[in-house]
Symmetry: C2
Subunit: 243 residues, 2 copies
């Protein structure tokens, strides 16, 4: 039997309507959808006629091996990632695992969660910006710290992924300290939580105050540059047009 | 007459299937679509029953004023941007102009072009990354240069928007020089052109060679970090999983 096709599909932040038309059509046509429990739960109802294979956190490689196994059985498989599969998602590891055999993998891009999140609060990412994950599970903390430092120094708008989890609470405190060396304590900050999902919420605050709010694994934090301002409840980073 | 609703819609890179379901549905329901000529042409056929208002480059503020005028007439208006409206797009300036009156603006996020582009070449953005526009039309060159320098120093994956235009050709040369101070000349580079549009193409090369290829206004350049590699025609930035 010939091998089935493998797709890595970015499903967007969570709600079906922020999925691309292409991602939606591909999920409709595949035989099996493979993914992390939380993400599968987001789309299960819409694609309820599919076969699902669910696995837990830190089982990323096992999940990719399962995809290969299903493809060997001749099945068309979609491995899903929330947001875009190519941003801290499953695209890279799936390509790496697939290159051990002769598997065809197509990556279907999706909307990263931070874009959906910032659309609720205004337009803070209008200028040069950096995305940094604070998780030191796979990256040395020294490297992460140096990225925070350089990005703050160069006045990037900065989006922080994985700012804090139950077992990892100090990185965000240290990150704020580093930023305060270069950014005003009044720099606008957006806290984006559960974007595109139940209990979606956002808070606009500043670098001084933002640690007083709840921050967890489903939170992205966006810190403005030196021109970012909040006006009428909207966080805006001007691009430089003369009004 | 009450004011019409204003949407700022990110249409994605250009092809209809990389539009989100929400963006598509909103464009179907509005009265008027307003946008830069090139972007309107990308979607005109699909939404051919709409009224269109087209304007040229550098007419961004005028375009926003036109949107307000249409809203005052009671029309529901979509101002479109390619990619995501919040990344170097129309979201910020529309919010700024709208705040002069009491207009309701909703931002509909879209897929940024770089995500669609990199999905064709592999998974180069799997780790911390920075987006920098090399256009010095609205930003001082000294600031841009310092962002390139810090981002290279901190080993970010770097995406360059607006790398070069007919009248602006030296910035990309200088940017490469700065990067070579910190990054190996063998660092993988993806050149992404006309993504989601006619004549879509990509080239995988390296920091040494990439200036030998055609680069224009519709090009995005992605430069890897120190771990990025090219294997079997795919550019991959590993996240750090042990295979």
């Amino acid at each position: 039997m010939s091998k089935g096709k493998i797709y890595v599909v970015g499903i967007g932040p969570g709600n079906i309507e922020n999925m691309t038309i292409k991602a939606y059509n591909i999920l409709k046509k595949v035989d099996v959808i493979v993914g992390y429990t939380t993400y599968v739960n987001l789309i299960k109802e819409e694609f309820s006629d599919k076969e699902f294979y669910i696995s837990g956190m830190k089982k990323e490689i096992e999940r990719c091996e399962k995809v290969l196994e299903l493809a060997r059985e001749g099945k068309t498989v979609a491995l899903i990632s929330s947001g875009d599969a190519g941003i801290y998602g499953m695209a890279g590891i799936m390509l790496e695992v697939a290159q051990k055999g002769d598997y065809e993998v197509e990556i279907i891009p999706g909307m990263t969660s931070v874009l959906a999140g910032v659309s609720l609060v205004g337009a803070p990412l209008m200028h040069d910006n950096a995305i940094i994950s604070l998780s030191d599970l796979l990256t040395e903390w020294e490297i992460i710290k140096s990225r925070v430092e350089k990005a703050a120094q160069a006045d990037f708008v900065i989006s922080l992924y994985n700012p804090k989890s139950r077992g990892r609470t100090t990185q965000i405190i240290k990150t704020r300290e580093i930023m305060l060396k270069y950014k005003s304590s009044k720099t606008p900050v957006a806290i984006l939580r559960n974007i595109g999902r139940e209990k979606e919420e956002y808070i606009l605050t500043d670098l001084e105050e933002f640690l007083n709010y709840e921050i967890d694994m489903f939170t992205i934090i966006v810190i403005g540059n030196s021109n970012t301002y909040i006006s009428n409840g909207k966080m805006i980073t001007p691009r430089g047009y003369k009004l």
